[in-house]
């Protein structure tokens, strides 16, 4: 088991980068509004991972604090978002985000 490389900062950063990419991908491509919101959550969590990893590897408690607040914010955001999406569903009878484009140019 010794010849396994120890997990280091870069691994965390890579994972967070992937999460970010997935999140953006979801936001841009998914039709369903809920999935889009999930993408947003992914973005935020990518940031969280960064914060935690950094605070682990170069000390300081700030990163942890930050990530806690980000989680809270994400929760609040989700709540508002869902309310709005429901409202959208009431009016447009669908949650297809790409069909919501009455205002343009």
């Amino acid at each position: 088991m010794q010849h396994l490389i120890p997990i280091g900062l870069n691994h965390y950063l890579t994972i967070s980068a992937f999460l970010l990419a997935f999140g953006l991908f979801a936001v841009m491509t998914r039709k369903n509004a809920i999935v889009v919101l999930m993408g947003v959550e992914l973005i935020l969590n990518a940031a969280n991972i960064n914060f935690l990893a950094f605070s682990k590897y170069n000390g300081g408690i700030g990163g942890v604090m930050f990530s806690l607040f980000v989680i809270v914010i994400a929760a609040a955001e989700a709540a508002i978002a869902l309310a709005i999406v429901i409202n959208i569903f009431k009016i447009f009878k669908s949650v297809d985000i790409s069909s919501v484009d009455t205002m343009k140019e």
């Binding site: 999140g23 919101l37 947003v40 940031a47 950094f54 700030g62 604090m65 930050f66 955001e77 709005i84």
Partner: protein, 511 residues
């Protein structure tokens, strides 16, 4: 892995909190007001809009008193460098409180609320929440505070934008605003995390000292700066981070549009200046070689793009609200010009421009609301012949638009004058920027003048001479704003001295 703090440390923390609480009174007061409004709404259930709005006005007016008290306090950081109190912050405190009051005023004038919503309950509370959030944006000294306050503003804004629940445009605007805002703030947070990774600090000043002491990895720095810029750019609605703006401004309730286009933009600028002036290393050849990213050039790109794009696309708009939305994008460009100069004069010019923009934009939106009340439309075609039917409104709107173009003797002219003076004071390096500004403002004359053109030069289709008087109070408010627009255009000394007084940040002056 982190050891718990000892009792003594906790004692000292509590002591500091007690000591610093005195610097935080206006925010506390506003938070209490926020709760009070909700309580009032709960108690006096029903459609007592005036009760709520009046109390909001009074409450906000009261807050000015507390803000005024803070002039005596020494400038500096509080709450362990989370928060800062300085002239710069004070300026924006006044700014946002007044903006909130104006928002309330024009909300009272807007008859669309009668038809769209049953109760105004949380509306005013949310406006207060936005005020608090923006005040904190203007005075936060720590990445975390920045993030939190921005989100506070954004969330209230999302809700307010979608406040007309049964109105598809309003809801659509809210959704777009939400998705776009969430993504950009997400990117911003990611950028913050990178900065944190580079410096292990979240306080702006310590970040900058870290940078100046240890230097940094340029590649990561570029990435971080760009991502953070995405967040700020989204707030100030500058090209290419503006895409949400037109739709949201068109869809949102008009008072909210006005409020967003003035206040939250200003908050964004406050943040931008604080962050880029203080945190990110700038200026001076010291950084040029290692930096690899000159954020001034970045902002120049933004501002030029905004001026051109905003003005050019506005030429095509038929909906007045949307037209003003694009014009606000263009104005973001002009304001950025002041930031680019990056000296005390530039800051002063920027703050002054924000003040002038405050006056004329609110004025324009106010008149638009009054007209919409009478005609029920915001389309250019329906403005035909209004000049005869509502003379005062027509005159006022013309004055505001002229001021937006930047012609004397209006405050808008002085704003442009100061911005360009700040540019030219640097010699001829920024002259081309000034030229672009001039050219685009000529272009802007086209579309701004379309409105008076329709109001005066064209006859209304149903050419009956019915006069639509918007009512005494509305007339008075319009007249006052029109008067101020012209008065400050001729005697702008007080405003500009105020801007001058508020330019220093963290108590330290720029050269």
């Amino acid at each position: 892995m982190f050891e718990l703090p000892s009792g003594a440390e906790i004692q000292s923390i509590i002591a500091t909190l007690n000591a610093n609480i005195g610097f935080f009174i206006p925010e506390i007061y506003l938070s209490l007001l926020f709760m009070l409004l909700i309580v009032i709404d709960l108690v006096a259930k029903g459609r007592k809009n005036n009760l709520l709005s009046i109390s909001t006005l009074i409450g906000l007016a009261g807050s000015i008193f507390f803000i005024y008290q803070q002039h005596h306090l020494p400038a500096g950081e509080i709450f362990f460098g989370m928060y800062v109190l300085d002239e710069f912050a004070l300026f924006f405190k006044y700014f946002f409180v007044l903006a909130g009051m104006l928002a309330v005023v024009i909300t009272m004038a807007d008859e669309q609320f009668e038809s769209e919503v049953k109760s105004m309950g949380e509306y005013y509370a949310l406006i207060i929440a936005m005020v608090i959030g923006m005040i904190m944006m203007a005075s936060s000294a720590d990445l975390m505070m920045i993030f939190l306050s921005m989100e506070l503003v954004s969330f209230s804004a999302f809700i307010l934008t979608g406040y007309f629940k049964r109105n598809p445009r309003s809801s659509e605007a809210a959704l777009k605003y939400l998705v776009y805002g969430a993504v950009s703030s997400g990117l911003m947070v990611y950028g913050f995390s990178l900065i944190y990774g580079l410096t292990a600090q979240t306080n702006l000043i310590s970040i900058s000292s870290e940078f100046s002491i240890h230097g940094y990895d340029p590649l990561l720095m570029i990435l971080a700066t760009l991502l953070i810029l995405a967040g700020f750019g989204y707030k100030i609605g500058a090209v290419p981070f503006h895409f949400w703006a037109p739709d949201v401004y068109e869809g949102a309730p008009t008072p909210i549009t006005a409020y967003l286009s003035v206040a939250s933009k200003a908050a964004g600028f406050a943040l931008l200046m604080r962050f880029f002036y203080i945190a990110v290393p700038h200026g001076g050849p010291v950084y040029e070689d290692i930096l690899g990213i000159n954020w001034v050039s970045l902002l120049i790109l933004l501002s030029v793009a905004s001026m051109i794009y905003g003005n050019v696309v506005a030429l095509w708009q038929k909906n007045v609200k949307r037209l003003l939305a694009y014009s606000s994008i263009a104005h973001a460009g002009y304001i950025l010009l002041g930031i680019i100069v990056m000296d005390a004069f530039g800051t002063q010019a920027t703050l002054f421009y924000l003040l002038s923009y405050f006056l004329m934009n609110f004025g324009a939106f106010y008149v638009v609301i009054l007209i919409a009340n009478k005609t029920g439309s915001e389309n250019l075609e329906d403005y035909r012949g209004l000049g005869k039917q509502m003379p005062l409104a027509g005159a006022a709107l013309t004055v505001f638009l002229i001021s937006l173009v930047g012609l004397p003797p209006t405050i808008g002219f002085i704003g442009k004058l100061m911005i360009f003076s700040a540019l030219l004071a640097k010699g001829s390096i920024y002259l081309w920027l000034a030229l672009i500004g001039i050219m685009t403002s000529v272009i802007s004359l086209y579309y701004y003048m379309l409105i008076p053109l329709n109001m005066y030069l064209r006859e209304s289709p149903g050419s009956e001479e019915k006069s639509m008087n918007p009512g005494l109070i509305a007339n008075i408010i319009m007249a006052v704003m029109m008067f101020l627009t012209i008065y400050f255009g001729l005697f702008f000394q007080p405003l500009s001295d105020f801007a001058k007084y508020s330019s220093p940040m963290f108590g330290l002056k720029l050269n």
